[in-house]
Symmetry: C3
């Protein structure tokens, strides 16, 4: 159910999928074995598609913390669109190739000391990521193998199912308030749809980062497992979801998520203007600069 | 709070209730004892009204699986309307007279190889059942004494309270997706109102049938009891709800359910057209025929 | 986020806060120590503001049961507005100075045998209390040290966090249905936002009063503690919430609560007319009179 108003993103020809978008041709001649696994990679994300199961794995590989820069978001959307258009692909598992971190969320350098045009382009890319992921026709499973604050948490929340490594040192949550900023309404809508109004209200106001076991207790993640079981568990959950006829599952998913998707689509430009005027405030710029200074000192 | 737009269904004169619909007359002369229990029955449903408690029991007796055929739905609505209009009746307990099954849901034979006019009539009857049950002024308790998939689950969800036999062989859920079809939006609204958005999203997409103890764990049913305690428990719950002044309870119920009822009423014809065009698709007809074949083989 | 449509209430000059509303002046000369605690009191409510922490405590002192009379509501709103406008105040703890009761809810004598003008004025004051409390920019914590039915429960529900004394003799709930009346839609909206649709539907229809431990189990209160730990716990929770930058927390709170607040603001006059016509019914007046008789007998 590709939501109307989502911009076409394919600015570069897809690495595969051209054949997939065409009507199904005659069966492959027996002498021509299909590659069991195809992979493509760009600078931030590695994608592997297992054609026998129809399941792709999207691995975030943008050290040190998989932050959601404009480049990362663009690659994410292009990769997702390729898979969406590839008939060989029915489900995607999202995970990280960087130890201890799933994704640290939006890249603060994109929000600091840049032009209004840049802020607009960046925010549109953040919206695009969510519209495509929350509205994906594929089964989407987050295999959260590290901490996942803010935008990282949003990626997990937008999937159909969330499995997290049970390590209590890994935490997850929409902690924007802690940084003095506010999660946009569609982050909030996605959160409420997962954990309910009360838990969302408290967690968002406190900007809470929940250790994995706590996140599991109130349903922010569906399951916690030991790290060595994560990929196996994700594959098992994926198989369970893929056992349902695609068409019925997709229409049901659309029915559940359409209201939230439509709300952003209807207020997309307004949301961009809101972001620009908020982020352009000197007080916000100052606190983001201080936060970046702090991160730099921490690193060195 | 009889919702506007609900069609009058009383195509046949009610077996009782004529007096009830009239303004209250003088008190009964003392020499004329009231019948303590009145019963009426049609081919699919048996109704017994205990006048001392004001509680009716509606027993589904349409073997083999109490499927919701057009006949069943019509009798259901007529029986419910009779009780609704009978001042002696303040609450209804729904249960099954068929062992191991509460109701198997919509009758597939009504959706297979029939005319568009038939599909329209059938779907209008399904809507009517829900509008009358979800919007009933009476206290409604589901005493679920067997499995209850799809439309059977909807009946339970539409009651004020659900008690289920704790046998894990009995399951309940909106499993439409498993059959390649999609639960209509008002099934979904009813489900979300009971279990919340997240549980509904997952359960509907997977078309899950939940064993009674699991259904109880996440609130799809309010209570599980041993089979021999079911009727006793249902009566006790009913007494608790009837202790509240009718007027206040009814207005409160209306306040909670009006939004969902109004949504179907506003889109009723559209929902019928959607159903017809969906069910008329050759691919859907084919999978329903295959499903019926499978059921037939299973039986023999 | 002072909601539009909320009437200015400051009919009397505030006892403090005049300075606070002015732009921040130069720092205090070191020789002039700030008062560490300021207090003001009127006939129904005692307010103490600890300037070092920025936390005020509002103590209800209207024996025998802190019922919400027109006078109480007016004082409540004025006190809250003073604190809202006082830069030294960032959070408020609500508690009772009357043993065993937090607040018994709306004062029935205001709803019985009075003029329509009086009913209108009273109901507007009830609305005003909720609009100001649910929409407060300050952190609001309910320290529920006694029973809290109906309007008392609404006060607790409208806070950011609820802590209750774990004594099972203290109960809390929206029990209007028990008295033959109906909670208004915005009581219901507030309740649903805290406990979800299903729990609210059942509890409101039954007019349930939940003992503290039960209320905690399904999230009507966030925490239960021994009576002697209540104030300490409330202060600790407050400190946790005040650690978040005010601006981000306030915008987040507004985002979560705006829909419910806007709904009453849009239907405020209609809601007043509904209340007047409902409460003016002879049947309702009669049952309220009977209830008051019963309370009087109980007392003597």
């Amino acid at each position: 159910f590709c939501p109307p108003g989502v911009l076409p993103l394919c600015r570069q020809p897809p690495a595969w999928g051209r054949a997939a978008r065409q009507p199904p041709g005659p069966p492959q001649p027996p002498g021509l074995p299909l590659a069991p696994c195809r992979a493509f990679s760009n600078s931030k994300i590695l994608v592997e598609l297992d054609e026998s199961s129809g399941v792709a794995t999207m691995k975030f590989k943008s050290p040190p913390v998989n932050s959601l820069s404009l480049d990362f978001l663009t690659e994410f959307c292009i990769s997702l669109e390729k898979l969406e258009n590839d008939r060989a692909c029915r489900g995607v598992i999202f995970t990280s190739a960087v130890p201890k971190i799933f994704s640290s969320g939006l890249d603060i350098t994109e929000m600091c000391g840049k032009s209004k045009e840049h802020y607009a382009e960046f925010w549109r890319a953040v919206q695009e990521m969510w519209l495509r992921l929350y509205g994906s026709n594929m089964v989407t499973v987050a295999a959260v193998n590290g901490s996942s604050p803010a935008g990282g948490c949003l990626i997990a929340l937008s999937c159909d199912y969330r499995i997290m490594v049970e390590n209590p040192k890994f935490s997850i949550g929409l902690n924007e308030a802690q940084l003095g900023i506010v999660a946009p309404f569609w982050f909030k809508d996605t959160f409420v749809n997962v954990v309910g109004h009360r838990v969302a209200e408290r967690s968002l106001q406190l900007g809470s980062l929940h250790p994995a076991p706590e996140a599991h207790r109130f349903g922010l993640v569906d399951e916690v497992v030991p790290e060595e079981k994560l990929q196996e568990k994700a594959a098992a959950v994926m198989a369970q979801w893929l056992a349902i006829p695609d068409h019925a599952r997709q229409l049901t998913k659309s029915m559940m998520r359409k209201a939230a998707l439509d709300r952003l689509i209807a207020h997309r430009e307004e949301d961009i203007q809101n972001f620009i005027s908020f982020i352009s405030k000197e007080s916000i710029q100052k606190s983001l600069r201080m936060y970046m200074e702090m991160l730099k000192k921490k690193k060195s």
